[in-house]
Symmetry: C2
Subunit: 91 residues, 2 copies
């Protein structure tokens, strides 16, 4: 009953996700993008650094809108590259 703790694979996915957002942000400041998306700068920072590996959907949607990105390409980008190889061994 218990909200399974995030797996290492999920955390790595979060890191890739954050890296993608950081690249997309370019030279714009965190506070500017965060304000444009309507989220706090701390939240954006945690997402970018991978410390919030599974952010809320609408948070991501707002950030993608502020960054001019497609949600589908965003999901595809962080899924590719680790979708199947990193989580094979669990036992």
């Amino acid at each position: 009953m218990v909200r399974t703790p995030l797996t290492p694979w999920e955390r790595q996915r979060g890191e890739r996700f954050g890296a993608i957002l950081r690249r997309a942000r370019g030279d714009r400041s965190m506070v500017e993008v965060a304000a444009a998306a309507g989220v706090s700068a701390e939240t954006l920072r945690k997402i970018e650094t991978g410390r919030a590996p599974t952010p809320a959907f609408f948070t991501v949607a707002a950030l993608a809108s502020a960054l001019g990105m497609s949600l589908d390409e965003l999901a595809a980008a962080c899924a590719s590259g680790a979708g199947d190889e990193g989580r094979a061994l669990s036992a």
Copy 2:
């Protein structure tokens, strides 16, 4: 202070969001779609009924994939119908 409670507007958005997913599910069962997406049926139910108004991004991505929907159109669909006031997203 911390983690601002969800506004009524956000909850209504969650209800619209869930209704869209429920329509997209059609006559398929909750358990089937949830299993296809890799989430628990209870989670899908809460999202569909609006009791989980701000689901995680990757949860939504998995559900959209299982339902054959685009994330962008999904976000746009639940934004339309309430996006009349200049409203910054949060949470």
